[in-house]
């Protein structure tokens, strides 16, 4: 079926898949660009935050250092106001109490853990607090402060290197001479600034990776000054070589120490990618690096990204699953459709009904099944592309218009009986169901048509037969009664019943024949019922019936059973034959009398016939005898006494002889005719050829003498006839033919015998004088002559004999002729 394509939409899934993948790519790329943008933004934000925090911390640190500087200056100034000089010069063993008090209160007030005063040689001359003493480094720093006469800070260090917990910072402030020209000593203030560095430690906001780094270049190494978040013991201890670039580990610190401050994205001391911001700490050679793991900076965005990717994947997976499900369901649907189509196709083709699919617009056949071909006689090839109008299928095109109008109006047409003209011209009745279907968006009509011609005929026949039965039931002069076989209760009776039984329909219905007392011999009824119940029937049974009022009638009844709606009924048809019975008896008596009379009459007739025969004999004998005398004596008179007579006398005698001879012929013919009448025909097989030859032989002399041309063509080989009768007829015809060609120059006679299959038609044709057809019937009557006897002598009995002979043999005779053109006589006889 080539319309398969129409039913399957979008066979290829690849375009859809391609579009889907493209969408994924675009979404991916868009997402990537977007996320990149957000990442950059997040990094920038983080960096900005780092920078802010760094600057704040740097300024805090710077302020702290300035405070420490201030403290140191105040203290050193205190000492410097000639005090130290005096102390040292005076050789006071004890620091003046005021200074001591000042230092102690400073220690207490500012959180210093210890204070030391060193002389110009760097010898500790005074110490206070709990943490005193100088390391080599401390000493060198003290010397530097002496040398430079400026404030020097120590590195941040741990009080106890073994237990890196307390951040210590020493401030070395030069104690200037009273004139302020040179440093005469160094005030060392040692503080435990753990709180400060501890304050560095926590990030202002919650962060897992953000930290400050305080670094300083020492030789070729990077020295980490503060405690590291990820390496607790780093401060003042972790040193790493200052090699590599921004992208090597510790990139930010290296860059900062190289003097490149600002934002940088690099790798930290752990080798982790970080966002960093570095700046110098004012008044120190420290650099501050604020950093945060890139991971953390991008944590939010990553989370969103992950969520987005996850979401995207989920959506994609969902889409894929959906697509797969759609594919599968569509494949299932297609399979189902295909199966349904196959089933439809099978049903379509196998249906004994005619099924057609036509377009709604012009009714063009798109599909027809074999049922259509059977119904209409048109093959699918003949129908395709044409419509019912082209094929002249509808005997009433208005019905077709109606059908299409209904379908166009969106209605379904069912049980439309239409007379359809087949290809061979036969008209058949089809019952049609039609509905509108859309195929590929084009409106079509699916039409199923069943041949109900026979059904219609059967219905009509049944209706007619029911009508006939009903009519017959009521119109019948006979009594017809329908009663239940079981109970004998009358269900329906007709007018004939009313007439014969004397009971009205109302009186009879619901009662039984026994109740009405119709049976004069009730035991007969029981016997009949038994016979009917066992499937038998009763025909023309004569019985006595007692009418209402008691009169008895002879009734001839026939009984049979019929099934009506599952119940057995007895149908009784009765005829009143009382009169006929009497009439028959009377007739019998009459017949007996009649038979006797017939016998008497027949005997009389036979006697009369005998008498007639005897009469005929005597006519023959008694008439012919005298004639022979007349002729004989006339002849003798002519022979012996002709000299005694004159010419006239002799002519008289010749006339006498001629008349006598004619009368002889007449008597012979009459005898022949009467014999035909009474003689029994002895029918047998006669050979026509032989018979005709014999008849010709009888007249051979005359034929030869006159030079008559006789031809014979007898194809009939056998005829069923009385030989003598047929011979008589043919002999007469031959005689006539010879007679009536007597004055013709070249007399011709053709004798024929044609075989028609069942009969033999003999013909005798002559070229004689012929006759007018208006005399046709007359010539076959006795004593009818058309010519004067002196022209053509004859008795007028010949053709009557022919006709009689043929009638007696079950044949017939007729003639065709025209005056002057000869005549043809025909005899037809059974073969």
């Amino acid at each position: 079926m080539d319309s398969e394509r129409k039913f399957e939409a979008g066979k290829s899934i690849f375009p859809a898949l391609a579009v889907f993948l493209l969408l994924v790519l675009v979404a991916g790329a868009g997402g990537w660009v977007l996320f990149d943008h957000y990442e950059q933004q997040a990094k920038a934000d983080a960096t900005r935050e780092l920078a802010g925090t760094g600057k704040l911390r740097a300024s805090q640190l710077s302020a702290f250092l300035k405070e420490r500087q201030g403290d140191a200056r105040v203290a050193s100034d205190l000492l410097g106001a000639g005090l130290a000089q005096a102390w040292w010069q005076g050789g006071d063993k004890e620091l003046p109490a005021t200074v001591r008090r000042t230092l102690n209160s400073m220690l207490a007030a500012y959180g210093y853990t210890g204070a030391m005063i060193l002389d110009a040689r760097g010898v500790i001359r005074f110490s206070a607090g709990r943490s005193v003493g100088l390391s080599a480094t401390g000493k060198s720093l003290a010397l530097r402060a002496l040398g430079k006469a400026s404030l020097v800070f120590s590195e941040i260090y741990f009080a106890d290197p073994a237990a890196p917990q307390e951040f210590m910072l020493d401030t070395f402030a030069p104690v200037m001479s009273t004139d302020g020209a040179k440093a005469v000593g160094v005030l060392v203030l040692r503080g435990n600034w753990d709180y400060l560095f501890s304050a560095f430690q926590p990030w202002p906001e919650h962060s897992r990776s953000a930290e400050f780094l305080l670094v300083r270049k020492e030789g070729a190494d990077v020295l980490f000054l503060n405690r590291l978040r990820h390496q607790k013991q780093a401060a003042d201890r972790l040193r790493m070589p200052l090699t590599g670039d921004a992208h090597s580990p510790m990139g930010p610190a290296i860059r900062a120490l190289q003097g490149h401050y600002g934002a940088i994205e690099s790798v930290d001391y752990r080798g982790k990618p970080v966002l960093a911001y570095s700046l110098p700490v004012p008044d120190t050679d420290w650099s501050m690096v604020v950093k945060e793991d890139v991971a953390e900076a991008l944590e939010g965005i990553r989370r969103i990204q992950t969520a987005a990717i996850f979401g995207f994947l989920v959506v994609a997976a969902l889409a894929f699953a959906l697509w797969w499900w759609w594919l599968r369901s569509r494949r299932n649907a297609q399979q189902a459709l295909r199966e349904s189509r196959e089933r439809f196709e099978k049903a379509f083709q196998a249906s004994p009904d005619s099924i057609t699919l036509v377009t709604l617009d012009h009714g063009t056949f798109v599909e027809v099944n074999s049922g259509f071909e059977r119904f209409t006689g048109y093959s699918p090839a003949e129908a395709m592309g044409r419509n019912a109008r082209d094929l002249d299928l509808w005997t009433d095109p208005a019905q077709r218009e109606y059908l299409f109008a209904e379908l166009r109006a969106g209605r379904t047409v069912s049980r439309l009986d239409a007379r359809i003209r087949r290809k061979d011209g036969e008209i058949r009745v089809g019952q049609r169901f039609a509905t509108r279907v859309e195929i590929g968006g084009v409106p079509h009509v699916l039409s199923i048509m069943r041949d109900i011609t026979d059904q219609k005929k059967a219905e009509a026949t049944l209706r007619a037969s029911e009508e006939k039965f009903s009519k017959a039931f009521h119109a019948s002069p006979d009594s017809i009664a329908l009663s239940k076989l079981k109970t004998g209760e009358f269900m329906e009776v007709n007018e004939g019943f009313e007439k014969i039984s004397g009971y009205s329909r109302d009186e009879a219905i619901g009662r039984t024949a026994m109740e009405l007392g119709l049976w004069t011999q009730p035991e007969q009824r029981a016997a009949l019922t038994t016979r009917l119940a066992s499937g038998g029937a009763v025909r023309n049974l004569e019985t006595m019936l007692r009418r209402k009022g008691g009169a008895e009638r002879v009734v001839q009844i026939s009984l049979d059973t019929i099934d009506l709606a599952g119940e057995k009924y007895m149908l009784t048809i009765g005829r009143d034959v009382t009169e006929r019975r009497y009439a028959e008896e009377a007739l019998k008596e009459l017949n007996a009398g009649l038979e006797q009379r017939v016998q008497e009459r027949t005997a009389k007739l036979e006697a009369a016939n005998k008498e007639l025969e005897t009469f005929t004999y005597s006519v023959a004998h008694d008439l012919k005898g005298p004639l022979r005398g007349i002729d004989g004596y006339s002849r003798l008179l002519l022979a012996g006494y002709s000299d005694k007579l004159d010419d006239e006398g002799r002519q008289f005698l010749r006339n006498v002889r001629q008349a006598a001879q004619h009368m002889g012929e007449l008597i012979n013919d009459l005898l022949t005719y009467s014999r035909l009448e009474r003689r029994d025909m002895q029918t047998g097989k006669v050979n026509p050829q032989e018979l005709i030859e014999a008849l010709l032989a009888e007249r051979a002399d005359e034929i030869e003498a006159r030079g008559v041309a006789v031809t014979m063509a007898v194809s009939c080989t056998s005829a069923t006839a009385d030989r003598e009768g047929l011979a008589t007829a043919l002999r007469n015809l031959l005689g006539n033919a010879l007679k009536f060609t007597g004055n013709v120059p070249q007399p011709t006679i053709e004798i024929g015998g044609r075989d028609t299959g069942a009969t033999c038609i003999f013909s005798v044709r002559d070229n004689g004088i012929g006759f007018d057809m208006k005399f046709h019937d007359r010539i076959f009557d006795i004593f009818q002559r058309l010519h004067r006897s002196e022209d053509y002598p004859g008795t007028g009995v010949g053709l009557a004999i022919v006709k009689k002979a043929m009638e007696r043999m079950g044949g017939r005779a007729w003639a065709e002729s025209e005056p002057g053109k000869g005549a043809t006589f025909y005899l037809e006889i059974p073969e």
Binding site: Y617, S618, A620, H621, K624, G625, P626, L627, R628, G629, D631, G632, Y633, S634, R635, L636, R657, A660, Q661, M663, G664, I667, N668, L671, R675, R679
Partner: protein
């Protein structure tokens, strides 16, 4: 044969008898012709033949005759112990088939219908004479 045996003509019609006799006479027939004018007369000959009178060479017998008809004469002759050998030729006007049949059934030796035409009648007599008195042999 020492004596010429007669011909017996049985016919009731005098003109027919006369004409027949004339016909034989014209043929100059040597045989004497006896005539019986009806059946009775014909049957009267039987005792005479039995008594030794010469029997006829042929009997020409008509059928329709008063009193005793030709067929009855034939029946008696042909049922006679010795006389049944005498040839009997039915010479009659009747051409009725039943008569022909009945005659032959009773033992007639021939059946001839008398024509009305005298010339034909003469021919007929001549041929009868020729055959029955000339050609035909009869027992003594």
């Amino acid at each position: 044969m020492t004596t010429t045996r007669p011909i017996l003509l049985v016919d009731d019609n005098p003109m027919d008898v006369d004409l027949t006799l004339r016909a034989f006479k014209q043929r100059k027939l040597p045989n004497p012709i006896e005539v019986a004018r009806d059946g009775e007369e014909a049957l009267a000959w039987i005792p005479r033949w039995e008594a030794g009178e010469p029997r006829p060479v042929v009997i020409l017998l008509d059928i329709n005759m008063p009193k005793i008809g030709g067929l009855e004469v034939l029946r008696q002759l042909k049922s006679h112990g010795t006389l049944r050998t005498i040839p009997v030729v039915m010479l009659t006007t009747s051409a009725v088939g039943e008569d022909v049949e009945a005659a032959y059934a009773l033992g007639a030796n021939s059946y001839v219908v008398k024509p009305v035409d005298f010339d034909s009648f003469m021919d007929l007599i001549m041929q009868i004479e020729l055959y029955w008195t000339g050609l035909n042999q009869v027992p003594d």
